[in-house]
C-alpha cells in the first residue's frame, strides 16, 4: 500500500465524525464549504471532506486561537484572505487575520520580526527569493525538520509535496525545505495577438523591417516592433497605441524589475539551472555555495558589458512606452495592458492574467477568449542556450523560528490548508498562480486554456523550470535588494551614465556580500581579491566581453514560439 493510499484511508475513516461538527450561527459546515465554494477540485467530494475532517481534528488544541499572517497584494492572496481564512475558521475554530500588503512592507515586517525578536506575525507568505537568506541565517524553520518533529502530528498526510512544481525554489543548498510555495507566477512576453495577425500591419512591418511581424525571439526584434507600433502605426481604431509598456518609478518595485532576472534575460549570467553556475542572475559568482564577488574585478558580472546593455535597453525603451510609464510602479503598470493601447510588453507578470481575462475588457473578445497571448520572453544579445530564460515568483509559506511552538503548529495548519488539494484547484482558477502539478494537468485547466492566452501551455511545459526565482547565492536579500532600485533609478532618471551606476552598484554589492558574512551560519561570502577585469572577461562564460549588441531581429509564429518551451 502506498503511503498516499494509507493517508487517504485514514482520512476517510475520520469522515464519520463530521456529522457531529458543531454549527454556529453563520458558520458553514464542511459539506457546505465543499459544495458551495471549494469546487472544482482534483479530489473527490469524499476525499475533500476527509481532508477537512483531518484539519478539524488536528486543530483541536488550538481552537479559539487567532493567527496573524501576511501576504502580498495579488488576487490569489485576496482569495485566501476573504474566503479561505473564513473556511479555515469555520472548520477548525482557529481565527485567521490574513493581512494583505505591498511586497516591500511585507519584507520590512519580516526583517523587523527577525531582527528585534518581537513576534508580529505567526507566518509570512514570503517570496522564495529569500531562500539564500533563510538558509544562511536559520531564523525561519526548516519545514523538512519541522514536519519530522514538532510539526509531524500537524502535517497533512495527503499534503503530497511531490505534487508541488516549485518545491526546489524553497529548498536550501542543504536539501531542506524552508519555504512551501503558496502561489507562483512568471514574467513572460505579452502581446496583442489580434493586431499581430492583421494582414495590413504584417505587410507594413515586412516592408519596413524586412521580416515577419511575430513573437520576437530576441531584443532586436522586440525593439523593432516597439518602434513600429509607437512611431509608425501610432493609432489603431482611433486610439493611440504603444509598442512597449514598462514601469520606472523610483521605488522598491523598480528593483524587482531588474533583480527579477532582467540581467539574465540579457544574457549576463552563466548557463545552468536554476540561476546560472557559477555566475547567477544577480551577477554574483559563487565558489561551491560561497558567494565570492559581484563586480567583474572579483569575477562577478554586475558591471559587465551585458549588465550595462540590459540597463541601457530598459532605460531607452521608455521612449516607446506611454508618457507616464516612467512614473508608474509594478501594480499600476501590470493592469495597463487591459486598457487596449499596448501592443507588447517584454516583462509582464502573469499574476495579472486574471485581470486581463475579465469579460468586457477591451482586450477580451465577446466570446471570452483573449485578444492577447503570452509567449516566451525574447532574450538579449548575450543570452545562450542553457541559460535561465526569465523569472518566476513563488510566494511561499515561511514560519519564523521565534514564534511560540503551538502557534507555529497552528500556523502550519493554515498554511497547508491554503495549498491542500481540497482548495488548490479552485484557488488556481481564481488567481491563476498554479502550484500543483495535479491542478495544472486537470481537465478543467484544459477547458480553461483557450481563455488564458498561453498560461496553461507555459505551466504544462518544461519552460516552468527555466523561469526561476532568485536563488540561494544571494546571502542577504533584505540587505542587498534595495541596492537595485536605489542605484538603478539614478540611471533611469538620467542623473548618471549607466556604466557609472553599474560600477557603483557592483561595488555596493561586493560590500554587502562582505557585510552579510556576520549573519551567515553557513556558506558565508568569501570575496575574491580584486584582479584585472580583462582576465575575467577573456575567460569562457560570465562575465562576458562586449559583443555585437544589435544582431538581426528574429520573430516566430505564436505556435513556433510556444513549442520552444518544450525543447
Amino acid at each position: 500500500m502506498t503511503s498516499e493510499l494509507r493517508g487517504w484511508l485514514s482520512l476517510l475513516g475520520l469522515c464519520s465524525a463530521l456529522v457531529f461538527f458543531p454549527v454556529r450561527a453563520a458558520v458553514l459546515t464542511p459539506e457546505q464549504w465543499v459544495d458551495q465554494e471549494l469546487t472544482p477540485s482534483t479530489l473527490s467530494r469524499a476525499q475533500q471532506l476527509a481532508e477537512l475532517e483531518w484539519f478539524r481534528q488536528a486543530a483541536r488544541p488550538f481552537q479559539g486561537m487567532t493567527l496573524y499572517v501576511i501576504s502580498e497584494r495579488i488576487d490569489t492572496h485576496w482569495y485566501e484572505a476573504n474566503v479561505l481564512a473564513k473556511a479555515f475558521e469555520d472548520i477548525t475554530g482557529i481565527r485567521v487575520v490574513h493581512e494583505i500588503t505591498g511586497e516591500d512592507d511585507l519584507l520590512r515586517k519580516l526583517v523587523t520580526q527577525l531582527d528585534i525578536g518581537q513576534v508580529i506575525y505567526d507566518a509570512y507568505i514570503n517570496d522564495s527569493d529569500l531562500i539564500g537568506t533563510h538558509y544562511r541565517k536559520q531564523s525561519v524553520l526548516s519545514l523538512s525538520r519541522f514536519m519530522a518533529s514538532d510539526g509531524a502530528a500537524f502535517t497533512l498526510p495527503t499534503l503530497k509535496l511531490d505534487d508541488f512544481i516549485g518545491l526546489s525554489f524553497g529548498t536550501g543548498p542543504d536539501a531542506e525545505l524552508y519555504q512551501l510555495p503558496d502561489q507562483q507566477f512568471a514574467n513572460l512576453y505579452w502581446y496583442r495577438h489580434d493586431w499581430f495577425q492583421r494582414p495590413d500591419l504584417r505587410q507594413r512591418f515586412r516592408e519596413l523591417y524586412g521580416y515577419e511581424l511575430g513573437v520576437p525571439a530576441n531584443w532586436s526584434a522586440y525593439e523593432d516592433i516597439a518602434e513600429f507600433f509607437s512611431e509608425k502605426v501610432r493609432e489603431l481604431d482611433g486610439k493611440r497605441v504603444y509598442g512597449h509598456m514598462d514601469y520606472g518609478r523610483t521605488d522598491p518595485s523598480l528593483g524587482w524589475r531588474i533583480s527579477d532576472s532582467w540581467l539574465s534575460m540579457a544574457g549576463m549570467g552563466d548557463k545552468g539551472l536554476p540561476n546560472g553556475i557559477p555566475v547567477d542572475d544577480w551577477g554574483i559568482r559563487v565558489d561551491g555555495c560561497r558567494p565570492v564577488g559581484a563586480s567583474v574585478a572579483r569575477g562577478g558580472a554586475v558591471d559587465s558589458p551585458a549588465s550595462i546593455y540590459a540597463i541601457r535597453k530598459f532605460r531607452d525603451w521608455f521612449r516607446y512606452a506611454p508618457p507616464d510609464a516612467k512614473s508608474l510602479n509594478f501594480t499600476e503598470a501590470g493592469k495597463r495592458v487591459t486598457e487596449g493601447q499596448i501592443a507588447q510588453q517584454i516583462f509582464w507578470y502573469t499574476a495579472f492574467v486574471a485581470q486581463a481575462s475579465q469579460p468586457g475588457s477591451p482586450v477580451v473578445n465577446p466570446d471570452g477568449t483573449p485578444k492577447w497571448r503570452i509567449a516566451p520572453s525574447p532574450v538579449g544579445a548575450y543570452w545562450e542556450k542553457g541559460m535561465k530564460s526569465g523569472y518566476q515568483d513563488a510566494g511561499s509559506w515561511t514560519l519564523p523560528a521565534n514564534v511560540p511552538l503551538e502557534r507555529q503548529q497552528a500556523a502550519w495548519l493554515y498554511a497547508q490548508f491554503t495549498v491542500s488539494r481540497t482548495v488548490s484547484l479552485k484557488k488556481t482558477l481564481v488567481g491563476l498562480t498554479p502550484i500543483r502539478r495535479s491542478d495544472i494537468e486537470s481537465p478543467i485547466m484544459s477547458e480553461q486554456a483557450a481563455k488564458l492566452g498561453g498560461l496553461v501551455e507555459f505551466y504544462r511545459s518544461k519552460a516552468r523550470n527555466y523561469w526561476t526565482p532568485t536563488g540561494t547565492n544571494v546571502p542577504d536579500y533584505p540587505l542587498m535588494s534595495p541596492l537595485w532600485w536605489k542605484m538603478v533609478s539614478r540611471a533611469i532618471e538620467g542623473q548618471e551614465p549607466v556604466r557609472t551606476v553599474m560600477r557603483q552598484l557592483a561595488q555596493a554589492m561586493d560590500e554587502a556580500l562582505a557585510d552579510s558574512r556576520s549573519g551567515s551560519r553557513q556558506c558565508g561570502a568569501e570575496l575574491n581579491p580584486v584582479t584585472d577585469e580583462q582576465i575575467w572577461l577573456q575567460r569562457d562564460g560570465s562575465p562576458k566581453a562586449k559583443r555585437d549588441e544589435n544582431p538581426p531581429g528574429i520573430t516566430r509564429s505564436y505556435e513556433e514560439a510556444i513549442r520552444a518551451w518544450d525543447r
Binding site: G64, I70, V83, V97, E99, T112, G117, Q118, Y121, D122
Partner: protein
Amino acid sequence: MGPIGKAWWSISLLLVSALLSAEEGVRLRILAHDEPPFMVAPESPGQPPEGLAIDVARALFSEVEIDHEFVFVPPKRAFSFAATQPGACVIALERSQEREARLTWIGPFLITRHAIYRLRQTDRQIRSLDDLKGLHIGAALGSAAAEYLEVMGFEVDLAPRNDLVLKKLQLGRNALWASDTLAASLLIREQGLSEVVQEKVFLTTLREMACHKSLPAETARQLADGLRTLYQRGDIHKIYKPYLGQQGNWLIGR
C-alpha cells in the same frame, strides 16, 4: 492653550531651537504632532510631552545618550522639516515607497494593530475585508486605517479626529469605525463605552523615526542598535503596558 496656540508655541520653539542648535553639538530635534495616545503635546511651555511614542523616544535617547528635544508641529510640517533640516527627525511615520528615499529611518518605534469596531447591538459580522463592501466606515483623517482602506477601494468617511469618528458611530451615522487598537481602546476606556466592540483586526503597521538624510551613519547605527536592545531586553513591552488597558495582548497572544 488651544490647538492653534499650541501650534504657534511649538513652531516658535522650533525656529529658536534651530538657531540655537547651529552653535551647539549634536542635538536632535524630534518633531512630533498631537496624536493621543502616541504623542500628546504639553499644555504649556515647561511641561513635558507625553505619549507612547514619546516614551519610546525618551528610552532610546537615554539608552544611546544622545541629546534631544521634542517639538510639536502639525504633521505635514513635521515631515517637511525632517526632510529639509539637518538634525531634525520626525516621529512616528509609516514608511512608504514615496517617502523611503527622502529620509533616514530608525524603527520600529510603534507597532500597532488596526481594527474595525461596531456597536454591540448591531451584531454585524465582519470576518474579512470583503464584508466591508457597501458599508459606511468612519476613520480619522490621515490615519493608517483610513489610508489603507481607501487604497483598497473602500469609501471612508473621514473626520479630523478619532473621537469624532467614534461619535459618528455612536450616532449611527457610520456602521463601522476603523482605528488603531491602542487609540480606540483608550477612547472606549475613557468614555466607558461598553457598547463599542472590536470586530476584526485587518492591518498592522510599523511606524518609525525618520531623520534628515544628513544624519551620520554612525548615529543612525547607534540609534538602531539601541532600539533593538530595548526590544530584546523587554523595555518596550514595559513601556506599552500602561497604554494597553484591558487589552492584555499587545501583538501576539491567544
